[in-house]
């Protein structure tokens, strides 16, 4: 049980650390952010190994554990497994998906947004382009090229 608890705890830490970079409503510390970003590349693999170890250990021990002990073991197993799942998704992109595949239109008959809606307008060399704020407010950025220059309109 102690082994399973440790595995679950490690999985929780490795999951929560990368989640620190998506906390929406707080002011984060620079040092913790650094730590979190450092752990991020190893978290998914580490969590997978921890989840596998936790599953194996639970499989060996669950007959021996009874009543509350078994419930506690199962709960810890769930923690370890959720860690493995959570470290594999980009939560921010789940909410604000990338605008891959967006296309351009002439502004003359452009009706996707109202005339009174705001756009971000950019002029580079000979090209001008409007990025509707409502578009950017959802995707938050779009990898684009204007007059041959790679630019990143973002919001």
């Amino acid at each position: 049980m102690i082994l399973l608890g440790t595995l679950a705890f490690l999985a929780a830490v490795l999951t929560l650390a990368p989640l620190y970079v998506v906390l929406p409503m707080t002011k984060q510390s620079a040092a913790l952010l650094d730590l979190s970003l450092s752990l991020r590349p190893v978290s998914p693999m580490a969590c997978l190994l921890l989840a596998a170890a936790a599953t194996a250990w639970f499989a060996i021990k669950w007959r021996e554990w009874t009543g509350r002990l078994r419930t506690a073991g199962a709960a810890l197993l769930v923690v370890a497994l959720s860690g493995a799942a959570l470290t594999r998704i980009n939560i921010v992109e789940r909410i604000f998906p990338p605008a891959d595949g967006a296309v351009l239109a002439s502004i003359a008959g452009f009706k996707d947004v109202a005339d009174t809606d705001m756009v971000i307008g950019v002029k580079m060399g000979l090209e001008t382009r409007a990025y509707p704020v409502r578009f950017l407010a959802h995707h938050h950025m779009w990898n684009d090229k204007l007059d041959g220059v790679p630019i990143l309109p973002n919001y």
């Binding site: 002011k27 980009n90 351009l104 578009f135 959802h138 990898n143 630019i151 309109p153």
Partner: protein, 227 residues
């Protein structure tokens, strides 16, 4: 960055502002500043390009040749009034936050010569053109007729410093400069009078929430109408 094109993805949120990473090096960047916080490119900064935040109608009238990015199908985009609704959300300040303005008040921020000034949108809408200085440089900050667009210009022109007023004789947008009486449109071009055909030079302004502006410009002052 250094001759190499980077592709960015959203990856996180830091201090209520997005973090993004590039697919090429895996470095992490703060959206508002363009600064790299972590990874191989740490310490680098993306170059800011000039941009305009105006209504579709204004942009179309000034740039009929422009293209625009279309909505993707199957996505529910925020409604036109989403900015009004989001302004009611709480904002995380942190202990060092300034309380000059409510956190979610919109300002037009200008940075020049190492100085920064936030011009509350509310004031710009109410007061008409603002003749002020940032970092010792005389500037004009003016909201468009729609109340959401805002543009800023250098006021030094041909050895003089111009002072602008709202033209009293029209409900549309027109400014008049005190020295010559010329009329100016929202793009900073003189459309009538002795300076007709002349163009004021733009200075970049950033429309931002106060809590965000003050965080990245801790020395900023706030322009107050009538003070």
């Amino acid at each position: 960055m250094d001759g190499r094109a980077l592709r960015f993805r959203l990856g996180g949120i830091n201090n209520m502002n997005f973090l993004m990473y590039d697919e090429e090096t895996g470095s992490w960047w703060q959206q508002i500043s363009g600064e790299c916080l972590f990874g191989p490119l740490k310490g680098k900064k993306l170059t800011r390009i000039p941009s305009d935040e105006v209504t579709l109608a204004t942009w179309r009238a000034e740039h009929p040749e422009s293209t625009a990015v279309r909505f993707l199908e199957g996505i529910r985009y925020p409604e036109s009034d989403w900015e009004k609704r989001i302004s009611k959300l709480p904002a995380a300040g942190g202990s060092k936050s300034r309380t000059d303005l409510p956190p979610r008040e919109l300002v037009a921020g200008i940075e020049f010569n190492g100085a920064s000034v936030g011009f509350p949108m509310e004031g710009l809408r109410a007061s008409g053109p603002v003749n002020h200085a940032v970092g010792g440089e005389p500037v004009l900050v003016v909201a468009g007729n729609d109340g959401n667009s805002v543009r800023s210009f250098f006021r030094r022109f041909g050895g003089n410093v111009l002072i602008f007023y709202k033209a009293p004789d029209t409900a549309g947008f027109a400014l008049i400069d005190e020295a010559t009486g010329s009329r100016w449109d929202f793009s900073g071009r003189a459309i009538a009078g002795p300076l007709a055909g002349q163009q004021l030079e733009r200075i970049q302004n950033t429309k931002d929430y106060w809590f965000d502006w003050q965080r990245y410009h801790p020395q900023t002052t706030v322009y107050r109408v009538g003070r």
